[in-house]
Symmetry: D3
Subunit: 236 residues, 6 copies
Amino acid sequence: MRILVIEPVVNGHWTEEDELYFQGLVGPGTEVELVSIARGPRSIETYYDVAYAAPEILRTVRERAVGVDAIVVNCFADPAVDAAREATDKVVVGPAEAAMSLALHLGRKFSVISVLANTASWVEIQALKFGVERRLASAIGIEIPVLELENSPDRTVAAIVAAAQEAIARHGAEVIILGCTGMAALASAVRERLSVPVIEPAAAAVKLAELLVSLGLRHHRGRTYLPPSPDKIRGC
Amino acid sequence: MRILVIEPVVNGHWTEEDELYFQGLVGPGTEVELVSIARGPRSIETYYDVAYAAPEILRTVRERAVGVDAIVVNCFADPAVDAAREATDKVVVGPAEAAMSLALHLGRKFSVISVLANTASWVEIQALKFGVERRLASAIGIEIPVLELENSPDRTVAAIVAAAQEAIARHGAEVIILGCTGMAALASAVRERLSVPVIEPAAAAVKLAELLVSLGLRHHRGRTYLPPSPDKIRGC
Amino acid sequence: MRILVIEPVVNGHWTEEDELYFQGLVGPGTEVELVSIARGPRSIETYYDVAYAAPEILRTVRERAVGVDAIVVNCFADPAVDAAREATDKVVVGPAEAAMSLALHLGRKFSVISVLANTASWVEIQALKFGVERRLASAIGIEIPVLELENSPDRTVAAIVAAAQEAIARHGAEVIILGCTGMAALASAVRERLSVPVIEPAAAAVKLAELLVSLGLRHHRGRTYLPPSPDKIRGC
Amino acid sequence: MRILVIEPVVNGHWTEEDELYFQGLVGPGTEVELVSIARGPRSIETYYDVAYAAPEILRTVRERAVGVDAIVVNCFADPAVDAAREATDKVVVGPAEAAMSLALHLGRKFSVISVLANTASWVEIQALKFGVERRLASAIGIEIPVLELENSPDRTVAAIVAAAQEAIARHGAEVIILGCTGMAALASAVRERLSVPVIEPAAAAVKLAELLVSLGLRHHRGRTYLPPSPDKIRGC
Amino acid sequence: MRILVIEPVVNGHWTEEDELYFQGLVGPGTEVELVSIARGPRSIETYYDVAYAAPEILRTVRERAVGVDAIVVNCFADPAVDAAREATDKVVVGPAEAAMSLALHLGRKFSVISVLANTASWVEIQALKFGVERRLASAIGIEIPVLELENSPDRTVAAIVAAAQEAIARHGAEVIILGCTGMAALASAVRERLSVPVIEPAAAAVKLAELLVSLGLRHHRGRTYLPPSPDKIRGC
Amino acid sequence: MRILVIEPVVNGHWTEEDELYFQGLVGPGTEVELVSIARGPRSIETYYDVAYAAPEILRTVRERAVGVDAIVVNCFADPAVDAAREATDKVVVGPAEAAMSLALHLGRKFSVISVLANTASWVEIQALKFGVERRLASAIGIEIPVLELENSPDRTVAAIVAAAQEAIARHGAEVIILGCTGMAALASAVRERLSVPVIEPAAAAVKLAELLVSLGLRHHRGRTYLPPSPDKIRGC
């Protein structure tokens, strides 16, 4: 089995650590391929960023889908996930949707800790569209931009933990979802300091993709997702 | 007052009829400017099409927002409307949202008649995100692609009317929304044949934009909509 | 175009300022007529007050609908708006519904600041009935009765602003709706002191009525709204 | 215990049968008083009718509440029930709310069979406001006006039964609520012909009022229901 | 009329006070029988406890249903209430459902005060399943186990009152439901110290059972509730 | 990794085929243990059946949880899943919840095809409690009891396919969930005859359990799920 992980940002230079992280998640018969987009945003924090990442994600899907079994778009905004499901019949998984679907099994309510002030609105809309908004306790931004998350890992971890504790104590959260795939390297430090399960969404997405492939399940095309007509696109 | 109407498709050659249509809607002190995108889809029917239209819509917003009071993105998918609200503090209105907010005043439930089989899912999600799903009776695709709507206007009108009548008789609709701005030229023919109010979404959007400007109302930036960092975008 | 604005309280002595306010909102071809009811409550703050205003509003509708294009009932309780839609096929708009439908375009969540302790329940029910409760952040009463709002305008403005700031900071509001048409004269003072859009509902209602008339849209009668039988009413 | 039943229509000439019906429902220590309003509609089928009945209902409440323990407004529209709860601290029960709250114990979904084409919208809004819309299967009007229900009892019963059977077979109803207190005399005939429980709302309301009084439970005044200021009403 | 009250715990030694309490609630023609289960939990605070109580409740229903008109399972978890409705066509009422359905008539929102930290989740799910979650303000556990509620009645009353006051002041509750039938003896002390109606769920259930029997209403069997096949059970 | 699959019925004689089925689903390092309960129902079709299965499921959990990493209760009713999460901190997965969480990734709406007439109500409540009811298109019973599913496999498959086709054509389903783990052997035959993804819930549960263990995720205990006091249970 081959899973393609698309990093939808331009400075997404995949490191050896990244490869080890993803390859360490999957079974022995599964190979994870990592690829970044060539043009687009340096990080995804707004709808504006999503808009510029999407065509490049779809270009990657078109070019690479043939040889793989599943595709993960590695960003909590789940950018172009719906469009990718139109463009390919291979399994397509988004980290936010993956994390939310796992959270449903771990406690009554989950909270999402992400980066900026738009977190509450964004995540509410994501949960609403995914149909699980009743299970969302809260969504909190820690006010550290994506590209600064690793500037001071201790400070970032502390901010995530503080927000999570507020979610647990005041909003009734029993599960914490890290709301940015750029927080993956910090997940174990966060986990050590919280008494509730913590979901790292990139791992959730890759594992869920592997699961769906192993069960032979693919999204339906023909109603919500119609195969697009790439020849209708001019000049891109 | 100046309202910019962006046609988010490449073959959107604005005709004199279009200009007359929009200019005829607004007050004597309002000027409507029409502009099409230079690259992107020939029509918007899928999330895939939206993805390719969005960067060009935002490019247009960036280039033209300074001189105008409001912007309408002329497609029922409301493509890049959220991203445009991040990119500018001018009023931004989408035809689907405009039509749905007017429908709330005209009857208990509205139905949307649009083009393809993905209509039901798409519109349900649009209504859900806009927060008015309880007022949606149904959404029906007539299985005529956008670029063929005007091939046989009589047939298209008949298909719209038949779907609307089903929505009225079986789903409880009291208001019909045309679910594609490409149906504008057919609106009066549809209206003549139905006993319920029929909303043409492009007109709804332009009029609502004019209303918001005249009341001095603009969307809030700082929470859901954060001003983006265009310099974070590379190579586009 | 002629729009009839019904003030549903007995001491609603329309002033020249009122006329200037409303007439200043509409286009050059639109005339606004102001009329008060002759019997009923001095202000509307309870369901009890609404009950006594309603027959007089309907009497006014019956007497005056023939000569006008649209009717606005100038109170945030939207008293007798549904019954008026049964009684006439002219456009009928309520300020609460008008304000809520505009708020949907301006930010993810709106809060309503109104007069008494019943505000939270009342507005929740209004939003629920209108179908937009998911977009309501909160509703707060400032504990100043309608007839005392203008006793000390500075104090009233300060109370509105304080409640709005709580709604913004603690409940996630991005739009503020003034929950009483008696606050219209204070709207600009409130607006100056808040960083989010502020909707004055009387203005919203008049402008929306004008918009609906200009698009030829009227509510449907025959399902939710059935034409009543005035001859069934005895002794009133 | 004394329960006041207000018939909110002018031709509500209470018969001996009515007295026997209500008195037969309650316990030996409970006395039911029947009273009709003096002015207002001959039947209640629209919001318009409700508007004319409401002030007279409230007048009756003001005049008669002192001597009774509970008040039932005998119409499925629950007219002026909220306003009456503002005007008195005695128990106030509406037949629609009473019937819906009993239905919750008898099966997963209930349907309401009422008189006119506005039934579906009206009942949906009633269930929504009462907070039980998820339990509503459907609401169907039989197209026989209130004042004609008893013209041909057999025909009316047949129409109710046919609508109920459709609700059971197609909408999943397990409980039928008669959606008009004017159907009380037909309830047993309907019940004989259906295999699911049938709730007669006037009986439900009187019994529930008796129950609440016996448990010493009264609605709260001070938040949703504020005591009104009758002296604010002029000329009525 | 005979109502069977099943105490679903093993140390449920019914006292003379209990008998007087229940017999004092019902009408002169109604007899209340009290019975405890022989095996199972000493108190019900978890799903685990419910699982062990349920078969014994059903055994009691099977053995005793023939001679009674209605059955109340005397625990706020409403244990085995659905299964009992499958097993018998006699009226079956649960205290939580009974209390919630009465609360709907007494104020806009109710809060439930119960024993442990799982209260919030449990009651939310109960309200959701019953279909009234929109009316639930909050649910709070006082952190006193069932078997310790009467150790220090003053302390328990104080804890209930403090939690209720928080629900009233901060969550908008207008009605308080005691979330444990073991709090019945404390209800009047709580009631004296609160300004809102307080519902004791055991009394609510018994009275509602009596009401349903007196109206001849029984739950429907054949869709949600199918008569079970006791002979399918082996070894129990 | 070891996963315990509990068959919650007494005649659950695990066959070699069953072992091969489950063992074939999991990775090379995972061992699946199958165990049936010793007392209880022969099949689970009602709340009554669930009540008798639950204590035996919990007994098995208590006895076997120590040596395993995850537990699957192999019935679509998810019997005792919540109670088991109280009783152990090992991963506990129910087939209905597992299947529904996978369906969210495969199409906008799913339908469940199960055995009896209570399917619609049961599954609606399951989806509601799980928080995904908005994604449920419909739930249909084929009127073949569990113990007769394999009497005539062709007939059963035909009934499932017919119900699924109705769900697809009339209710908008894009994903079909088999609503009984007893249908596992028929899944491939059903899959061949439908054009949408078909989820077999036992496989979904085992794979999801394996996924959660591999990510180190366990449900939270301390709020919704409190560790029970087994010594409170007497005589069982």
